[in-house]
């Protein structure tokens, strides 16, 4: 069973990250509804397109802040390895998929899936790194 941490930096990071994910979900729905219901034009389209990307950018900034605030070098190293594993796997999957799309007429992968895909790989990678050190 997962142990709960008393680390204030980790707690802050978890809270901030969850808020950003909630905002991402809300903004994504808002952005899609905006397109389907209001049929916007001009600057409003651009604003609606930018909206879901904002929480992602902020979430990454919060990850950077956590790295600065975290005093435990081991915890930081675990997160760095998980992030590296996540981005590595995401890049490999997207490269393979892109090629299959271009040359083998594979089903098109929506670029909006990149963030969920990355998160899934980071979580898997985090679990694997933690299991390695257990």
């Amino acid at each position: 069973m997962e142990c709960k941490t008393n680390n204030p930096a980790a707690k802050r990071f978890t809270y901030r990250f969850l808020v950003m994910m909630l905002l991402y979900a809300v903004f994504s729905v808002l952005s899609t509804c905006g397109l389907l219901l209001w049929h916007p034009a001009g600057v409003l389209i651009w604003l609606l397109a930018v909206l879901p990307a904002l929480p992602i950018g902020v979430a990454v900034v919060f990850t950077g802040l956590y790295m600065n605030e975290e005093k435990d070098d081991f915890q930081r190293a675990v997160l760095v390895q998980a992030l590296l594993g996540g981005i590595g796997t995401t890049l490999v999957v997207t490269t393979v998929w892109g090629f299959l799309e271009n040359y083998a007429h594979f089903r098109r992968l929506d670029i909006l899936m990149l963030w969920p895909l990355y998160l899934v790989f980071v979580v898997i990678s985090y679990g694997m790194v933690k299991a390695r050190y257990r």
Binding site: L48, P52, L54, V60, M67, T95, L100, N102, I111, L112
Partner: protein
């Protein structure tokens, strides 16, 4: 004047980059031009999967080489520099991808293919590395 000092880990990273990743890029570049642009090959089935795997080899190699470097590097400052660059690379790539995905949904122009993601990440990472290095100069 620029001073050139480096840890053994950095030298190893440079060697691996030069002798593994660069030849892979050159090889795949040749294969791409010769096979897909000159001969217009359209691999199917297992061959397509093999080609897709081949194409992702430089990226796999880069991630492995980078991971090895981060594990071997004893200089905490250099490691922090790389980690910051990677983090900015991830952040900017995801934000750009999300923006482009949403734009495409709205019928706007900046279209980004899924295979371009790796180049966006590398570009942002290199740019951030330069900016951070300048900041600490």
């Amino acid at each position: 004047m620029e001073h050139h000092t480096g840890s053994p880990a950095k030298f190893k990273f440079e060697d691996r980059f030069l002798f593994i990743i660069v030849p892979l890029f050159v090889l795949l570049g040749i294969l791409d031009i010769w096979g897909f642009h000159y001969h217009h090959l359209h691999p199917t089935g297992a061959l397509a999967y093999m080609c897709a795997f081949l194409y992702s080899m430089p990226m796999i190699a880069f991630i492995v080489v980078l991971g090895l470097y981060l594990a071997e590097e004893t200089d905490d400052f250099m490691r922090a520099l790389w980690v910051q660059s990677i983090l900015w690379g991830i952040g900017a790539t995801l934000a750009i991808a999300n923006f482009c995905g949403a734009s495409a949904r709205f019928g706007l122009d900046p279209h980004l293919g899924i295979s371009s993601i790796q180049f966006v990440f590398l570009l942002v990472m290199i740019f951030t590395m330069v900016v951070i290095k300048l900041r600490y100069r």
